[in-house]
Symmetry: C2
Subunit: 228 residues, 2 copies
Amino acid sequence: MKTFNPAKPDGENETLTIALPDSGTPTLGNTYQVPARCGIAVKMTAGQSIKITNPSGHQVCDFWAFYQHDLNEYLSMEHLRTSLGKIIPVPGDAIVSNMRRPLLTFLVDSSPGIHDTLIAACDHQRYQQLGCNDYHDNCTDNLRMALLAIGCQAPAIPSPFNLWMNVPVDASGNTSFEAPLCSAGDYVVFKAEYDVIIVLSACPQDITPVNGANCQPAPVDFMIFIDD
Amino acid sequence: MKTFNPAKPDGENETLTIALPDSGTPTLGNTYQVPARCGIAVKMTAGQSIKITNPSGHQVCDFWAFYQHDLNEYLSMEHLRTSLGKIIPVPGDAIVSNMRRPLLTFLVDSSPGIHDTLIAACDHQRYQQLGCNDYHDNCTDNLRMALLAIGCQAPAIPSPFNLWMNVPVDASGNTSFEAPLCSAGDYVVFKAEYDVIIVLSACPQDITPVNGANCQPAPVDFMIFIDD
């Protein structure tokens, strides 16, 4: 019987080999690229900020944050929706964990503000159901591998904060998967209120139009900095 | 530092002592009561059905299902919303797990069909934030205790399927916590497609009007049966 292991990927890609040095420690002010279809984990100290940029304008970035000193505490979209009283956060909002603590503050959004908190990260099973016979890169495995690459193990697969993912909910509660509404170069900024490990996955979805009508996954850039 | 342990309750109530015999094994056709503010776990074999009844008409029931042979597989609201293309399931829908397998099928709903898949189970931190100084019964601990009472440990706190919880989402994505819209005696029926452990918590929320305008938590009834 196949069992569910939150830490173990169902397959592999270069996410396993592109970790930042020193177990995910960034050089402040340096711009890093998450290659298309891959994931990277980066450690942030409380008070630092992360700027995440969408160079193509059509790429979704699955986004997670874990408390560095207890990986069992992580951003929780179901707790976030409760604390916000809405389904999509905006600048100024606290982004809370499953302990209802504000691990991050959402500081800036240069895009139209369309992100998603409702949809699971894509995974091996999703692509099998979409007709893939072979292994397909997926955000769940990118999360697992990005953590393994810095010596950590995913304690669970939290529901991701899907940056720029456009899943409107109509008055009847129906959802649809649409292309992102942002422009090339749009970015978001989050401040770490606690020491966290951020994981970014440049979503490899190339079957539904989540990453734009052309279904062409692209890279995502990020930078860690201190706002003086 | 307080860490997050998915298996360990932050406090206790009688959930620890009201387990069904033989590690949660029901007598088919027997009606059981989940006392107000408490939780119970019950084992179902594939092919059996569960009828969950709302005697008062104003009580929310937090609902989880775990695959008996691998508790790391459980109902996942974020995977469910993806598979359904909507935020609230209706009779006929498959209720899927984090492995995207239909652990249950939603068979019958005598109520107006207003349930919730967006909001986290209430927990110790939630009641502290709502102003409680002492321990307050909560659905997260009821889940933990209901599993402990049959000799199991929660591997995570999955986002619950909140039966009869009324959290409308408006066109701007804003949510609100409203009283249930069902009537006394309304019920839902789910069929187990695999061997599962169901956990029901009669939500102890008495500060917000989730359990009705009078904020009076009430019991929930259930019965396991085979539909011939």
